[in-house]
Symmetry: C2
Subunit: 300 residues, 2 copies
C-alpha cells in the first residue's frame, strides 16, 4: 500500500499513519501488507513532486538511467528505483500487488484507476466494483502520460478519491479511501480462499483523450471550466453541452459523440499537463475465465 | 488591486489578467486603478510563497532589513519592499488604497478581511457590507500573525473567497471576487462624489484566537476536522459541538463560550501556522461620524 506518491495528496498518508498507530483502524483481513510513503521528500514540502511527477517516472528508460548513471538522475527517478528495489517483484521485500492511494480536486467520488488491460487488474477491479459499485477509469493509449507506478507490479490499482483540495485532510475522504481499501483487501482474500464472487461483467470507462482549456497565443488560459460542467464528472455529455466559459460569457461547447463521459474535470495538477478534462466511453465487458484464473494464480 | 500575493491562489490573478484583456470585464467606475501581481515568482511555481509568506512580510523590521541589507534578505522580503517602492504611499505610482484578492480552501463564501481598527478600513467595509451583505472578519491582537500587505497602505482590505482548492480556477469564485471588487469600487466612488449611504452599524467578526488540530508528541496530526464542522464557517458554535475526530471515532468538542463563530476551518495553508480554525465574536458597531470623515478625507 503506497500513499503520498504525490506529496500534496495528504489523506492517504494520514490513513497509513493512523493504520500504523492503530492496527485495527483498517481491516486488512490478515493479509501481509507493507505500508510505504511514495515520495517522502515531496510530502515534507507539501508539493506534488520536486523534480518530476513520480507517478510518471516508472518508465523503463528513466529507471534504466537511474540505475546505470545515478549521478545524472533527478530525485523522482531515484525514488522510483528505490521503491522498486525495496518492494518490487525482485525487491528486498517483494510484493505481488500494489495499491496506490490518490486524491483529486475533481469530483471523482470514490473510484479505481486501472492502467492498460492486464487481466489481473481488471479481474480484481471487477471484484471491488461488485462489492462497492465504484466506477473504474481505464487509462490507456495515451502516449503523453506514461510511467505509472501501478504498472510496475504484477498487479496494481489506484484508489482515487475527490473532490478535496491539495494539502487538505478531510474525514470523508479518509473514510472513502479506507472503504475502498478494505473492499480491495476483502476481494484479495476471497480470491485466495476460493470464495470470490465475480460479476458477469465489469463496467469500465475507457480513456479516449483529453482536452485543454482554451488558451491565448501567450499560453495563458483564456477561459474557465463552465459552471454547468464543474463537478459533473462521470455524467454523460451530449453535443452542445457547454465546456468552457470566457470573460465575455461566451461558452465553448462539446462537439463530440453523445454519451461520452468526462473525468478529472478541473484537476489542479493536470493544468501543467494541458488537461482540463478527459473523455471516456462507458463499456461493459464480460469477464473471461482466464482473467479470473490469472488473478487466482498470482495471489494463490 | 493586488492578486497573487499567494502564488497558489490563482482566481484573482486570472481576474486581473482578463480585466487587462477586456477593460469592460470589471466595472471600475472610472477610478484610476493599478493592477499588480503580488508574488509573480511564487505564481510561476504555483506555490504560496518561495522563502516566506509574502502576506506576513510587511513587518517594519523585515522591510527595514530588506532596505538596508538587501543581500541578506530573502525573496519575499525584497518583493514586499519592491511593491511598496512602486505602489506604496511614497512610491513611484502611489496609491491611497489597496485591495488584496485572496482565496481559501475554507467555506468562507465571499467576505472581507480587515486588519485592526483603522477607521477608514471599517468605514469602507461598512459601505461594501451595506451593498452586498458580505461578512467582515476583523483580524487583530494576534502576535503570531503580523505583517499583512493591506496594513501598509493608508486604507486596505482583503477580499477572501472560498471554498476553492489551491491552484484551481472556478468561474463561481471569479464571479464572486468580481462582484465584491465592483461593490468596493462603487463604494469608493460614492464617497468621492458625496453620495455614500452608510448603514447605521457595521457587523464585524472579531478575531479571538485560533485552535490547532490535536497532535501527537511527534507533531503529526492525530485527528481530523469533524465532518459536522467541515464547511460550517460563520455558523455559531455551542459548548459540546464536535470540532475534531480521531481514527478511533472519538470527538474533541468545543468548550468555549456559546455563540462564538468559527472561520477559516481547515484552510490548507494554515496547517503550517498551526491553525485548524479561528474563533471570532460577532459584534455590531455603530459607525462614528469621524470614521466617515476620515474616509472622505482620504479619498477626496
Amino acid at each position: 500500500m503506497v500513499a503520498g506518491t504525490h506529496g500534496n495528496e495528504i489523506n492517504g498518508p494520514w490513513l497509513l499513519d493512523q493504520w500504523r498507530q492503530h492496527p485495527n483502524f483498517v481491516d486488512s483481513k490478515g493479509l501481509d501488507v507493507q505500508l510505504a510513503i511514495g515520495n517522502p521528500a515531496a510530502c515534507a514540502q507539501g508539493r506534488r513532486y520536486l523534480d518530476r511527477d513520480l507517478n510518471r517516472s516508472f518508465r523503463s528508460d528513466l529507471l534504466e538511467r537511474a540505475s546505470t548513471v545515478p549521478a545524472e538522475a533527478d530525485r523522482e527517478m531515484l525514488q522510483a528505483l528505490a521503491l522498486l528495489q525495496q518492494f518490487g517483484p525482485e525487491g528486498q521485500t517483494p510484493c505481488d500487488l500494489v495499491v496506490d492511494l490518490h486524491s483529486t480536486t475533481s469530483a471523482m467520488g470514490n473510484c479505481l484507476v486501472v492502467y492498460g488491460r492486464r487481466p489481473v487488474d481488471l479481474a480484481l477491479a471487477a471484484l471491488v466494483q461488485h462489492r462497492l459499485g465504484l466506477p473504474i477509469y481505464l487509462h490507456e493509449a495515451d502516449a503523453a502520460q506514461q510511467g505509472f507506478l501501478a504498472e510496475r507490479w504484477p498487479c496494481g490499482l489506484v484508489i482515487e478519491v475527490g473532490p478535496v483540495p491539495q494539502n487538505v485532510r478531510r474525514s470523508d475522504i479518509v473514510l472513502q479511501t479506507r472503504l475502498a481499501l478494505e473492499a480491495l483487501m476483502a476481494a484479495i482474500t476471497s480470491v485466495r480462499d476460493g470464495t470470490a464472487r465475480y460479476p458477469d461483467q465489469v463496467v469500465i470507462h475507457r480513456h479516449l483523450g483529453s482536452l485543454d482549456v482554451p488558451r491565448r497565443r501567450s499560453g495563458d488560459p483564456d477561459a474557465l471550466v463552465h459552471p454547468n460542467l464543474q463537478g459533473r464528472d462521470w455524467q454523460p455529455l451530449k453535443a452542445g453541452d457547454p465546456l468552457f466559459i470566457n470573460a465575455e460569457s461566451k461558452a465553448a461547447v462539446f462537439e463530440g459523440e453523445d454519451g461520452l463521459i468526462p473525468v478529472f474535470i478541473n484537476e489542479a495538477a493536470y493544468a501543467e499537463k494541458a488537461i482540463a478534462l478527459s473523455f471516456t466511453k462507458r463499456e461493459a465487458w464480460p469477464l473471461p475465465k482466464d482473467w479470473k484464473e490469472a488473478l487466482a494464480n498470482l495471489l494463490g
